[in-house]
Subunit: 288 residues, 6 copies
């Protein structure tokens, strides 16, 4: 069950409102690298967690923290949009083509649809999409999904930090960047605890690797038509990272044959000519 305190997790201060920066912040709210995604991802992983409960507990804690981050960013958007009140919107109705296009930099829906508030969408107004919420039921795969989310999330936050000179916004983003630092480390700690790379991989480690053709497990397949020899990279020779094989280098060759599909069944209503081997346009007798 969830509770709240009316204060934010960290200070949200906007010294000089900037409606265009409000648009950029939306990427951190409703974008694929954003906070709604990690919030729901950690919570759904917690709610579906099967296995040691300490991981469920941790996911629930950090998922809850992320709601507070959404709150901070939405507040920041609303405060930045206050810069639109005396300025940008008035300018929409002026004849001056130069100032008018500021609307191009601002998200027009921040005025039209929300009256100066945040949306569950990214910096281009593309809505948040639930498909981004990854909870696979495999703990290690989920941890990688989380490290990836915090890595692209921290990259985004640093770029946002670089896109403003507002001290309040820089301070808030520094806090979020620090939290992303922690969260990267946190999910990596689970992977370490699970035994590290050699134990964790290949994910899932519960599928018997003795199934299937073993020669493809650690072979770098080159599709390059220049046909160079083994370039001796880390991924084409030496021990595999999971410690269970040796990297090799092979030139890709087709091992299968040319696919042969049956002719169309009559009920699929293909063209009649598809039912004749030579593709001529004589009517197939069987169809008449």
């Amino acid at each position: 069950m969830f509770f709240h305190d009316k204060r934010t997790q960290y200070t949200v201060r906007v010294d000089k409102p900037d409606p265009q920066f409000a648009r950029l912040l939306q990427q951190a709210i409703g974008g694929i690298e954003g906070e709604i995604r990690v919030c729901l991802q950690y919570l759904f992983q917690a709610w579906g967690n099967r296995g040691p409960t300490k991981y469920r507990d941790m996911l629930l804690e950090t998922g809850t923290e992320e709601i507070s981050h959404i709150e901070m960013l939405c507040t920041a958007v609303a405060l930045n949009l206050e810069g639109a009140s005396g300025g940008v919107i008035d300018q929409i109705v002026t004849a001056n083509p130069v100032v008018k296009e500021i609307m191009g930099g601002m998200d027009p829906r921040h005025y039209l649809s929300t009256g100066l508030a945040a949306m569950a969408a990214d910096a281009n107004g593309v809505p948040f999409n639930g498909s981004w919420v990854v909870a696979s039921g495999n703990l290690a795969a989920d941890m990688y999904a989380n490290v990836m989310a915090e890595s692209t999330g921290r990259v985004l936050a640093t770029r946002l930090w670089n896109s403003t000179e507002d001290p309040g916004m820089k301070d808030m983003l520094s806090f979020l960047i620090a939290r992303d630092t922690m969260h990267q480390n946190q999910w990596l700690a689970v992977l370490e605890e699970l035994g590290g790379l050699k134990s964790v991989h290949p994910i899932p480690n519960s599928f018997p690797q003795t199934e299937g053709p073993s020669e493809f497990n650690y072979a770098f397949v080159s599709t390059n038509l220049d046909h160079p020899e083994n370039p001796g990279t880390r991924w084409s020779q030496g021990p595999s990272i999971d410690g269970k094989g040796e990297f090799t280098f092979v030139h890709g060759v087709p091992l299968g044959s040319e696919p042969k599909l049956s002719p169309p069944i009559p009920e699929a209503y293909a063209q009649m000519e598809q039912m004749k081997p030579d593709g001529t346009n004589n009517i197939a007798d069987s169809l008449l």
Copy 2:
């Protein structure tokens, strides 16, 4: 800022796991009538709220409660999917065509993508979409969006209640139905406090109704070619609900003219024939 307790808001008990019912429950999680939508909707309305803070406070409270509802439903999905372990998935690999199609009733991604856990999607696996989160900046419009969400949400919950005979699930759904009862009343209470129908409407009530042609404000426009006379319905005669006019009945007639657009500009690379008044295929001289 947000906090949690590891216990759920209300008991989640599944007496007889049912993977097909798990699929139906998804509609209440990630569907347009579902809990992710109301949760984010109330929170975004709170975070963007401008005006008396008591409304912001209330939205924050109920938005927080809705996270607890998502949690309950996701837990219910996970518990219902445990019915798949010994049965449904084994049956996938059997040759019996009759039992096999149970997979059709179950969402296959509940096995393939989550390993028996909930998703941020609806009963057809269509992902949650952030566009459903309505926070317009107009308090009365938002209250109607909330009444509507709780009304379609309660209708959904009663249909789910009717779709199971599991006592635990019926009990949990009864609780959610009761909360929807409260929430409908709660948003209506705001509308009452704002002055009721006569004061609230037309929304927004801050736009001067003296703008524009007044004769269209309360006219029921009939597009029916049978051209019946005023049927004397509540919406075609008598005082308007907002108390600011009188309903009338008119037969729709075009008041505008046939639109005339300019010919294509050359840079738009239309067909050359579009640039000739008669549509003939002579090459326009100006294009050569």
Copy 3:
């Protein structure tokens, strides 16, 4: 069955074409508050209507009127984009960075994809989405969906009205604002006719309220950790709006227990460590 007249329902006149305003108008065409949504929503409600036919008839009339509104707005977009012909597009290829960014304010797809015409998309180019079409089969829930759509739609229209100084556009928008006034009243008239708040709520009113735990029906659940006493708001004391109970105020407490899910089934291919109670990375015997 449907018919048309080549003239528009109301005059569509653009005195000074403005390609940036064309972008804003898209929100009223293909946005969630827009006319495609209400058009399809009323028509789908009509086509699925079960119950007194007078409601079906009304929905069909107004759904048909909304097609005429889409037509007006699309025509307005096309006319506004004519301002792009001699100016904006030429400027794209100039070196002047100041005039060039007008393209930022215009939707680039209005040139690239349509050659100066409207799209079935919102002001950010996000396509219309059929999930917004609400037709629940419950008449009262649908009426609220319609009041909500006309309320956010009228808010949008007033903001658009405020975003232009073109007399033709202001006139057209005033007409649409007036129609939204009528339509809000119209759906409210149905709710009045259904008996008003006390009869209509809780929606659906056909589900027996005697089912389930009654103490949650009218309780405001506070999730605020400050634990204030009952603030005495309209939604925490006094009679409920539906007249069927008394509002109360309670501090949220978890009534459920901590969820316990079964360990992963082997066929879900979780990590092996998930199948051990202590989360260590010893291989579970049962998996070997």
Copy 4:
């Protein structure tokens, strides 16, 4: 402006309601091959039409007819779902696993979300998407979009016709199949009138073909590594269909060079190692 008659364009009769067939019909309503798409496509093409008005007039006529087709199909869905009332939904709550999975064949949202009515979605419940509405501003391109829509639409309709034995449904689908026949011919008639293949192509025919390297205009580029000789197909030799060139056959060869991008700019916050030519993990001095 638009008007309606309460009767449908053609008889909609369901002799034996079938909720599973209702699901299949959804593809013809809200799928990419469906009627909402063609309806909006023709209307948007009409409303943006620039050029001879007779094409605008025709698009308006047929776009209006398509609304009537959506109406027929939605009515058919609602009537087929009546087969769910006494049977399918009751069975949801029975313990019999065999009959229960009928829900798998029915769209569960036809009960949960609409209470036995149609949705603006396809046969899998995926919502209609406005991006499918093609109106390019080029008349010939649009006509091909229309022929394509009516061709995939007629293929769909014949497959639906084959999926039912209900005489009423077969009759209604035969009518729709006949209309698709007409509409295919209708759009082809415009292409004929525009001068036929030799005049119409390449689309757009208003772009000067003298621009750019002419040797690629009619060359079939083979990417097949078997390096066969010209197989002598219709598209590798002989006159081109547009009459403006001669088909040739060439083996694909890279004419460009290997792309060279600049190193990352510091503001993009790539990894430091990306800024070093050798990829080693020494910290770049310039970053400290």
Copy 5:
């Protein structure tokens, strides 16, 4: 199986990087008229092809060529974005409102999400959508889908060509325009080989036209309330294009009746008033 050469199919050269043009190029990558769509469309048609294998072979060749086009355009986006490094991004943090809005013309995600590289999205940042990939199983329908894709694609390419003065970009686009010329011809060549219009139509030609009411096959249905006489257009008189009938002109009339749906079933939880013929709000006895 697929292979690659590190060089591009044709030269990709950007003489003067332009981050705003990079945004426009996205339409040709991830838009509905773009190269990801045609690439996947031709490959999916090939992989599902049933009928003469020469068509499968051709689709595979051209589908493979299109991957090379995506590569060229993505490279062009990355090169154009290099113009953002020294300029645009620095300007984001300046106080000058005039230069700042260049960000409005650039896609902000080109900095925030990719660090100056292409995305699988259109010019508004709307993601590529797999629903655009048409592979119907009917060869003629698919060929029209391909002609349509290459026609709208070539229209887009010419508009892009017109939107830049960069010689390198103009050269690359001229190459792509030439390939679209070939591809239009190529798919038309299949239609010719299949027998041309009279043999190919109506698509599918394997459905017996004797089914259903023949009078609707070639009738132009007018929905225009002006009720003009047959205007004598190509599509209202004379032989049909498929040679199988004669065009006629008819005024649309409803041939069906007003739909009658059953009242709601109790399990759908409609409002009680819907179950009463007169719509009054007396409680239906059967519900108590």
Copy 6:
């Protein structure tokens, strides 16, 4: 530039066609864990790669290999759907309710939309979405995105392997599982080469960690209201994984204050009552 061989990379053999398994395979084609996603992800990363070219080269190789995997899976879908020809589709038109629901297990669009071929969609028919293609411009973040994609991809492939008893399908899936093993190792090898966890993290490692408040970098923030002491987990004490700090445990406390937004601006057309501090419904003087 890209080339092809008509043979597949590995044998695709279906011993006993199974249209329901065809539906499951779609998840591996167009789902978020599927092959279109990794194919485009690696190629977009290659095309935007800035930094050492050996990484670009590798991404290009493996991205090209993934096209071959899409091909194999699409072929497998087409072959499995041949099981529908003599059986499932015939059964659609039979009266037997038991066999009929097989259609529920099959994707109906595999017949209706493709005539027995694969689609660019997932197992529920939800279209592939370009937003899943992650190419951040940060090499380490991208490698984690790739490890994550191959981990969830391999989990999916093992579940598919478990869902069939067809020897041909099991063989093909074993090959794909082996390739996922290699690809996991391959991306991990890059991370090792970049210096391993201590050098790579926090991502991006080019942002100066001295910015901002350092105490939040390695603090586990607990939101649990039970307020337990430091549980001594790997992520709440001891050295951080990146070797740059020490994990700590803190109880979450709000460090910010309650947000205060300005009242609505008049141009946003909120309700008048929102502009009054006490929320009463007296008309604000300033608005009259």
